[in-house]
Symmetry: C2
Subunit: 228 residues, 2 copies
């Protein structure tokens, strides 16, 4: 496979390559596992139409995985090697947030994809334009979101007690995501430097990033009819 062009010259800097390899690896493994988890969650659907809708979401995640994988191959990177450092964190995240039922599964997809999309949008500003465009476009094909919002809101309408349980569940999802993200940040210097830079000043930017992500998360919970 021919290597993709590199008009910015960034791919000749080893530290940049290490950072962006991590970034592509974590996003790709996140998408591959999202495929597996969402397709398993779809089996909890109350009917075959709902099963098909959520299965389609899983298939979209796999499609995004293949785009990231092919992009890595086009850059001469080994996708399996790039993903490997993130297997434990992402698997642990899913193991600690296995949905107990259909509604918890839907909230997890919506909240999880939302947090991932926010992160992708933020990080894509720090990478070369081609990589940034790819990572932003991964979020473009989510689809079926209306189905999730409608189904969760309808369930709350039928039984308002559901809202309290799902709000707690949403907080747990965020807590586990933050805890695994911290673990990744500690383990993977190159990627963290890409975001934080070497100067202390950028720590302010990091905390603004977290503030933006928290705001967006609360907006999504509100869309579901839940308190964040």
């Amino acid at each position: 496979m021919r290597l993709a062009p590199d008009p910015t010259g960034k791919w000749s800097e080893p530290e940049y390559v290490a950072a962006v390899t991590d970034l592509l690896g974590v996003v790709a493994y996140g998408e591959l596992q999202a495929f597996h988890r969402i397709s398993a969650d779809a089996s909890m659907a109350p009917d075959l139409g709902a099963n098909a809708s959520v299965s389609q979401m899983a298939v979209n995640e796999f499609h995004q995985f293949t785009r990231l994988r092919d992009y890595m191959l086009g850059r001469g990177l080994d996708p399996a090697q790039a993903m490997q450092p993130f297997v434990a964190s992402i698997d642990d995240f899913h193991a600690s947030t296995a949905p107990n039922d259909w509604l918890e599964g839907l909230v997890k997809v919506y909240v999880g994809d939302g947090i991932a999309d926010d992160f992708y949008a933020e990080i894509s500003r720090y990478v070369d334009p081609q990589t940034g465009e790819l990572i932003r476009s991964v979020t473009a094909d989510r689809g079926q979101v209306e189905f999730v919002v409608y189904t969760v809101r309808e369930a709350i309408e039928q039984d308002p007690r559901v809202a309290g349980r799902l709000a707690l569940w949403g907080r747990r999802l965020v807590g586990e995501a933050v805890s695994q993200a911290q673990r990744v940040a500690v383990d993977r210097d190159a990627m963290t430097h890409l975001l934080a830079g070497d100067s202390g000043a950028d720590l302010a930017e990091i905390s603004r990033l977290f503030a933006r992500m928290t705001d967006n998360h609360q907006a999504r919970m509100a869309a579901l009819g839940l308190n964040a």
Copy 2:
């Protein structure tokens, strides 16, 4: 959605519609469940490359499911209603043939898709040309078969004792498939009549059909390096 044209006029015969609805329903639910089971089996892969290869097979099955679903919608049929009568048989088949490991999963995909494809090829001769073409084309997008054959043969080469265990597994898969097929044949008169017709003479054709399917199954087992 506009109804698809019906040059043969067969769709105006209620008995034909009942039979072909069953046929589309069983194939569609088979594909939807194949998607779920294969994507779960892919998680047993020994490495991320193998996981991605088998996940791609699962995604191909989902794609075929969507084609069958959309065809039913184009005929004014309710896909969920068409699939419902086959949920128990197909779920029971999978429950009684849950693979114990990665290799059993691969053999199941290869043998299961093979038997399904043979059945589709046979049945497509008894339906109107448009439906027949759709059902035949479902089998065209299997892909990744070389990966399965290569992986199973390599495993047997490394440890010849594997062959005995997997050969037994292949026989069990066929046994369970035949047993669920008989259950469907007893339950679903319209579809069985489509195949068997009303005259006793066609029973000879049915037994030739089973003979052809058995021959093909033995050829597939041989391709894997297994005795059928």
